[in-house]
Symmetry: C2
Subunit: 328 residues, 2 copies
Amino acid sequence: MKSGSSPTMKDVARESGLSLATVSKVINGLPVGKESRRLVEEAIDKLGYHVNAYARALKSSKTNTVALVLPSLKHPFFAHMADELTASLTSVGYRSLLMITNYDRQAEQTCFSMVRNNLVDGIIALTYNPHLKVDESVPIVSIDRHLGENIPCVSSDNYYGGELAAKKLLELGCRKLLFIRISSHTPGEPNKRFSGFENVCQAQGVEYEAILLHDDESTEPIFRFLEEHVVGEHPEFDGIFCNADSLAGKVLRFLQQHGVDVPGQVQIIGYDGVPDFFADQYVCSTIEQPLSQITQTAVRLLLNPDESSIGLNVCLPVKYIPGSTTKD
Amino acid sequence: MKSGSSPTMKDVARESGLSLATVSKVINGLPVGKESRRLVEEAIDKLGYHVNAYARALKSSKTNTVALVLPSLKHPFFAHMADELTASLTSVGYRSLLMITNYDRQAEQTCFSMVRNNLVDGIIALTYNPHLKVDESVPIVSIDRHLGENIPCVSSDNYYGGELAAKKLLELGCRKLLFIRISSHTPGEPNKRFSGFENVCQAQGVEYEAILLHDDESTEPIFRFLEEHVVGEHPEFDGIFCNADSLAGKVLRFLQQHGVDVPGQVQIIGYDGVPDFFADQYVCSTIEQPLSQITQTAVRLLLNPDESSIGLNVCLPVKYIPGSTTKD
DNA sequence: AACAATATGTTAAACGTTTTACACATGTTG
DNA sequence: CAACATGTGTAAAACGTTTAACATATTGTT
């Protein structure tokens, strides 16, 4: 073994007096004589041998690495997602290659191209680019968005989540509902939250209004709307559903600063259900996404594509979590 | 090219009628005839060739990948750190291999062993294990902790941060200070926050007390202490310095729930300076760590170890950020 | 005692790059 | 016109594994 560089299987073979193939077998847990195994293991210990992942990947075209393509880690929901995905992957012997896109379509495309045909065994992605060119040569699992006919997608039950929020608000005595939605320009599963919400309102003949904000715009218009229709003695709306806790947090703060009593006059329900790390509690009443289930399912779907028990598209149950912004 | 598998340099060579070596030169931007370059590039486009990162890494022992070893992404500070580290690395053509340790010493060791001698070109780590065996064969940059004589460490100016907090509280009229510290069992740079704090108090002859909580313990004892010495008509302490915003957030909430007027009766300063994502503002008055500088320095230090302008140990300036928990 | 059958090892050819040493024109110089 | 620098391209040997195909030793069966 040349000093400075690390020991290879060849060195182990020489040290143990056995052949390269035998060493390989020991390393990979293939059947090998008891005595030989001992000799090889001793040599490995003595030399401090570690398998070279790159040589192995080259030969076996198996990298044991999965790319995680996420918009940002500044949003706690995505940060938690990355945390749990990595944990899931680690527990089954995989590594995570982290790629952050900053919600940029070009960057998303770059990620998908970079991993083309090598580098990773699969991709778990949460993307927005509607024209994403996906290469079928690498298995992909998408979160919250359909990327193509054959690409598995896992999401929470957004439609039901929307229904649930509307139902809860009505149950809690609200008479006129407001849906505030911040959304990308891309059609994705989360848009179904609105359908569910609308459906309940219409079925129950309840008045409602919905305002939409694109994620590349300022939140100003929303605040102006609130100022005009909610702030004051007699708010026009007494129940607000926001399609993200982060948005709900801002709405809550704005209303509080403008003297609106939450949940007294107006009740608010958000979506996502990531606890606020600092306060160690939920920011507001919310529809909680089953984050652990989502990540675990994504990993399973990616690594066992044939496991027929899970479908191609998985929709996981959401749960209502009462918090400080509703009367329950 | 066999169908199903991806094209290799060999295929490109055949397609372009040139040799393997020439193709390699084109790919790596080495000098090559104009016409040859064109032919090769055409063939690459036509076949959709992508270089195999593993073969390249094997041959050149350069992976263009850096391991990020962090305790968790559930804590926004670390999440932001991962986000920015990845951005920095991406901007210079590197990839991030994400490894989460969950503050577990064994897991930390596993990470350090896994990357041994291959897999990555370097490690950026924030660890707690005091007995971490580090292998000098891979360049390491440590954050907030000295890992060894030759291992660069980058941190914020913790000592000055502690001083600053004490000075500010005194400036704002506090008479008796409380330092609440949550800490791992490992001696690390952040412990200097206390020294700085203590130093100012002693120099100015101000009364103070410090309580310590290990990060594997419940926060109960702290709450009991607060209940006994702070809650009530006449709080014994009128200025509290917490060595983390997350801790400060909990203290703040506890005091508010028990009727203490913050910042009226008691003022609080935290440490870290990560804005609360939901509220879109700082949780409390705080000593802000220069996160971007930390991450950028870590990356520079890792990739240009010889650049003598940066020292082996870098200590970056902190800043006081007034917030809702102090009177300024 | 002869011969399968089985257990255990070995040899050598891949995997897809990079890179050193070399070959061959072509043009330049004394 | 020999001698030589220069510009371009090629051949072939690595890098450290995995794995098929093969060799040899061991055991059991008649």
